[in-house]
């Protein structure tokens, strides 16, 4: 199993994500933002958290136009798995791989704490390791995590069971408490909370581990 983790100038969760992948048996390649193609045979691409390009213009906007993002979009277009966390989620919405946008938190404050999430859909390689409706503790760390989409898009996401995670108590003003969504083919997941920061007991919690474990299990069998 092979994972690629994209590194932008300003990424800061790239190595944490690589560790989470490695712990589940993935061989991990770090891919620089100027690279125009992904390593051969990659099963999943991770787009990590951080502050790509200093969050200039809009969070994720400039990263979305980088050479590597064109390769990631091609990969997703061919049915590849892509996991975007935090700034990675913002990048995936800016590339158009996921609908909606992430606005400034409604309370205007940067929030860094563990939130309780509900697993809203278990129908994805990322969430099938959780029980339906399970409550899990996963850290968030963002200033712009307020998920926004128009009402039709929100209805469609809910109707197609594409809301992967919701917040038990909405910290940032996200529409319909959305913390993470999947693409139509259910292979691209974007989420603001950081499962890679809750993937080992020494992190103070390991509720994120089931995500990486399920992913590894599916991709190993593929």
């Amino acid at each position: 199993m092979r994972a690629a983790v994209v590194v932008f100038p300003g990424s800061n969760c790239d190595r944490d994500l690589a560790v989470a992948f490695r712990n589940e048996g993935f061989q991990v390649d770090m891919v620089w933002h100027k690279d125009t193609e992904l390593p051969q045979g990659v099963d999943i691409v991770g787009v990590p958290g951080g502050f790509s390009y200093g969050d200039y213009l809009r969070c994720g906007a400039i990263a979305a136009q980088s050479p590597v993002c064109r390769a990631v979009a091609d990969f997703a277009g061919k049915g590849g798995y892509v996991l975007g966390i935090c700034n990675g989620f913002q990048v995936l919405t800016e590339t158009g791989l996921l609908p909606g946008a992430l606005l400034r938190n409604a309370g205007l404050k940067y929030i860094c704490r563990t939130e309780t999430l509900r697993v809203a859909s278990t129908d994805s390689v990322y969430t099938q390791g959780y029980g339906a409706g399970a409550e899990i503790g996963i850290p968030i760390a963002h200033h712009d995590g307020n998920y926004f989409a128009d009402q039709d898009t929100l209805d469609r996401l809910e109707g197609e069971d594409r809301v992967a995670f919701t917040y038990a108590t909405n910290p940032n003003g996200s529409q319909r408490d959305i913390a993470g969504i999947v693409s139509q083919n259910r292979r691209v997941l974007g989420m603001m909370p950081h499962p890679e920061r809750a993937a080992d007991p020494v992190h103070g919690g390991d509720d994120g581990l089931a995500l990486f474990r399920a992913l590894g299990g599916v991709l190993a069998a593929a």
Binding site: L57, R58, A61, I62, Q65, T93, E94, P99, G100, A101, L103, R104, N105, A106, G107, L108, N146, F148, A149, G173
Partner: protein
């Protein structure tokens, strides 16, 4: 040639920064400020003859996120 692009959040999209500015103005004693919307202005220094369609493409692809924002191009 120069162009100025005005980017604003769409009507109906919550603008917490504008709302914070409105609160601050009220606290300073400026009465009657019903709403504040905050946007950004981007000035472009362009090769002469750049057509507006090209600038619009820049807006669509990068300068604005049309999911949440509108843009207006002003040629100077």
């Amino acid at each position: 040639m120069k162009a100025r692009v005005h980017v604003m959040l769409k009507t109906g999209v919550l603008d917490p920064q504008g709302e914070a500015v409105r609160h601050a103005l009220g606290a300073m004693g400026f009465d009657g400020v019903d709403a504040v919307r905050q946007g950004k202005v981007i000035e472009l220094d362009l090769a002469d003859g750049t057509d507006e369609a090209t600038i619009a493409e820049m807006c669509e692809k990068l300068l604005a996120n049309t999911v949440i924002e509108t843009y207006k191009i002003e040629l100077l």
